[in-house]
Symmetry: C2
């Protein structure tokens, strides 16, 4: 009787196995960026190129491993961004640029395409990993966005690591701030109101990922633009501007002059062009960047759909970017080819 | 010779007049809301209905007068919202609901469809008229959004009126907070983490307007949802979520459970449905509200295009709303007809 039961159960077991097995064959993809800007190739040392390239590879591998092991795209996005936030070489977490007051103020958001859940924090000064705080807002509150002190208090209550603002400081960001401050002071002396110069480098970090469950997610983490006013919020923590994810269209993360991306609702616009106009990701990204350019802005975008198709585009000279596609092919680039 | 010159100039003068004259015939429209909610008609006194109705008329007339005099839709939106922020009976400016800490935290945004310029403030506690601060961010910074202390410092530097947080307090908001606090305390005692109850009334204020230059604008001002976490930002100050304006599609202002409106990027989505799918405003609003409902949310939306067509829709029992259309027809409503 026991043997009979076992034999009767066998097809069910085989059935289950054959149902589960294809999941492992399903495509996984990760695409990341660490900002678009007008870096001069001739002025970037081979050593610095290696530092950036190595860190992009390291961050991407952390996320890809999670996807390989069957983890969620949301987990992959968060973990990859954690590596970039801790790196000290990008404009996110440690290494972020300073605001006018000489302080670091950070923004981040995350969104998952399966249920449109999203979380965001902005203008936070003491949360070591803003993307994890955004994740906690998504997972543990009925809200989507918390800012400033309220976000910091919440992150603390969630047991996230709290640091002094000076933790984020790097020599690079300090020198950048000193240069801006000197220019601002000299402009003010000349009778003008304020500096109107455009920042020439953006180091915002972003990730889009596809997991074995067929779900996409997107996340973005940043320190914003150089010499921003205290309290300035860019597109990165704005769901629909710098970050969006919807399984029915695509996952998007943007970098660039955030104000233009907010005014155009770029991330949501790309999802709408894909869904409503049937645009390919390539066409949607190019169209969105054209609109940004027409308003006077520039930047870059990464995007990914649930079938593993992805697109990367930018209007600046360079964009820190990397991917591992559904065939396992890997690429890391900084400058235009 | 002088007579000849005069005669020669006459057709030019007549030509100019006939060029200018039609501007005065061009349609002007204003549509406003002061929140959608599940108010019980039988429980609202005739006196209270009159107070709300009178204030909606007063606010709308201020904006309409500006439009009649050839002022911009942006000016009309700001001035109308100023009246509502000062009224003490809506969830915007004086009269706004309290957060968990028993403080008022305000959000507002404004956008103009002619050039997609936008301004926004969020989580501000001392700015008497948040919509004017949002306007100042748009007009006098290179940023779109400022939050918390940074936004307050900026508003002060612009000469906007700064008040103590207690200025915003009303008995209604205080009683609402006491009820929430009592329920929260009792829920915590019972071992649950936090109150999960949905607020049953939203009093967010919003305006869309069309001026004689053919330009549309939108603005939204709010105190957010009852018993929100400190630092919580809803859809109202998010360009693309609670507010959007683009002359090529429409101007939009939303009210409701803001988190759902952010996750769907409702205001931008409506503009995209109009632009990319050719939907009428009515169809775009109904489709957007269906999406909100499917996620578990509810609320209301007003929208207007540059030809003076407009739409109002809501999924709640009631929505404070009023309009003066291009023929001068006026209507003010609270409940469903």
């Amino acid at each position: 009787m026991k043997k009979l039961l076992f034999l009767a159960a066998l097809p069910v077991f085989i059935g289950l196995t054959s149902f589960i097995a294809p999941v492992n064959d399903r495509p996984i993809v990760i695409v990341i960026h660490a900002g678009a800007g007008n870096m001069d190739r001739s002025k970037m040392s081979a050593e610095n190129i290696k530092i950036v390239t190595d860190k992009l590879n390291e961050a991407m591998d952390v996320g890809h491993k999670i996807l390989e092991n069957g983890g969620s795209s949301t987990d992959a996005v968060e973990a990859t961004l954690n590596v970039m936030e801790n790196a000290g070489i990008f404009d996110a977490g440690k290494g972020a640029i300073f605001n006018q007051d000489g302080k670091v103020e950070l923004d981040a958001s995350i969104m998952q395409g399966v249920d449109l859940k999203a979380g965001s924090v902005a203008a936070v000064m003491t949360i070591k990993n803003p993307i994890s705080a955004a994740r906690a807002v998504m997972d543990h509150t009925k809200h989507v966005m918390l800012v400033a002190r309220g976000a910091e208090e919440f992150a603390k209550s969630q047991g996230l690591q709290i640091v002094d603002n000076s933790y984020f400081y790097t020599d690079g960001a300090m020198n950048d701030w000193k240069n801006w401050k000197a220019r601002e002071d000299s402009i003010r002396k000349s009778g003008h109101n304020s500096i109107e110069e455009k920042p020439n480098h953006f180091g915002t970090c972003g990730v889009v990922a596809l997991d074995k469950q067929g779900n996409i997610a997107a996340g973005t983490s940043t320190g914003g633009v150089s010499f921003k006013k205290p309290g300035r919020v860019g597109d990165s923590p704005i769901i629909g501007a710098g970050t969006y994810a919807d399984n029915t269209s695509c996952a998007v993360s943007c970098t660039g002059t955030g104000e233009y991306f907010i005014r155009l609702g770029v991330a949501k616009d790309i999802a709408s062009m894909v869904l409503y106009k049937g645009y390919s990701l390539q066409k949607a990204l190019a169209t969105a960047l054209d609109k940004v350019k027409n308003l006077g802005g520039e930047g870059g975008i990464i995007s990914l759909d649930k079938n593993g198709n992805f697109a990367i585009d930018f209007t600046t000279n360079a964009m820190n970017r990397a991917y591992i596609d559904k065939n396992g092919k890997r690429d890391v680039q900084i400058f235009r080819n």
